[in-house]
Symmetry: C2
Subunit: 222 residues, 2 copies
């Protein structure tokens, strides 16, 4: 649940980044003022994602329109639609960007510690009001192929982090090589998601620690 960049993310330090024609066309309203299309495109993207996160901390996603996001970011609505396709698209990327920035993938050298770090990151993440809003919005819109695809890509990226943790543990002989890393992360985080999304029980620090202990017992036999 950490450190995901889904989709292409322009590198703000890359000055010679090529920008697709469609991208230039999409940002026509600022085109004439820009000397470096790559830098401008990255800057516009940053403005839009920052504006989206700011709006998400203020109110429910259903009350936020692409027009609101564009106004807050000081860009044209068409820029948002052409780059992200929909409100959900931009909201998803904004949350993933925030997640990536705040949650470096754990590399402690110990499976138990890596899982604890990951579990705490997930607990913090899904406890944030704007992330809960995103989750709810995504579930509400589920059934829409575009949304379902975005959701699948999002979790695929998250599971990739866990795969890395498990593979390292396998190389250290901490966990069997027959273990499926998706099963490990599922065991670790499912109870936390269940509390946040379904039962409403509180995700306490003690509970997070129990999730880690249970996962270790089930998959590493310790």
């Amino acid at each position: 649940m950490v450190s995901i960049n889904a989709g292409p993310q322009p590198d703000p330090t890359a000055r010679n980044t090529e920008v697709p024609t469609s991208e230039l066309a999409a940002s026509g309203e600022q085109r004439s003022t820009s000397k470096r299309p790559g830098g401008r495109s990255a800057r516009v993207q940053e403005q839009v994602l920052t504006a989206t996160l700011a709006l998400l901390t203020e109110r429910e996603i259903d009350t936020i329109s692409v027009a609101d996001i564009a106004a807050r970011a000081n860009v044209a609505e068409t820029t948002v639609y052409r780059r992200w396709g929909s409100r959900t698209g931009v909201v998803s990327e904004a949350v993933m960007k925030m997640t990536a920035a705040n949650n470096p993938p754990p590399r402690t050298g110990s499976l138990a510690e890596d899982l604890m770090t990951l579990a705490k990151q997930v607990a913090m993440l899904i406890g944030r009001p704007e992330v809960r809003r995103l989750l709810r919005a995504v579930y509400a819109l589920s059934g829409d192929p575009e949304i379902d695809e975005a959701r699948t890509a999002f979790y695929a990226a998250r599971f990739a982090i866990a795969r890395d943790i498990v593979e390292q543990a396998q190389q250290r002989n901490e966990i069997g090589t027959d273990i499926d890393s998706d099963d490990v992360i599922e065991s670790l985080v499912a109870p936390m998601y269940f509390r946040v999304l379904v039962s409403g029980r509180e995700v306490t620090e003690e509970f997070v620690e129990r999730c880690v202990r249970d996962t270790l017992l089930l998959f590493a036999g310790k």
Copy 2:
């Protein structure tokens, strides 16, 4: 996740049930044709809940209005609003009623078998399109105090079933008396909910069996 009747449920066999004045007023459109208010009230309720389930199997909840439900059930809209308060209210009760009818609480005399029965019921339940639609709708509307209260009551009722299973197992000395039954059911069902609501991985029979085995290992040490 089985056999729940949340809220008062008129007993169709009770011929002398008193009907509150407000209920009579609410169903004014059928009042003059009814000789037995209790029977009529139960019949109207049955019509509305059946109509709601039928609509839920046909289309997304967002496209279903109270007017649609009332029309399909052949009752006045006011009847629905006065008895259930909102679309979500009637949809929740319809799904709970369906759940209760199809899922008798397991009483096999064995914790392992009770948990397996319960797990299979939950897997079947959350695999149903109309239940997924309800879950999505409830999460989308989360934050509304009335919806959150309904959700909390719904899961409290479901956890009560699990409490019964665990208490019986404790009386048979199959599981420690210090075990919290809410923790047991959470461990059992959280991975299934995670697959359905979050990751999109398939809930296979083998997976359901693993959920039961893991829960037994964690809580009954076997």
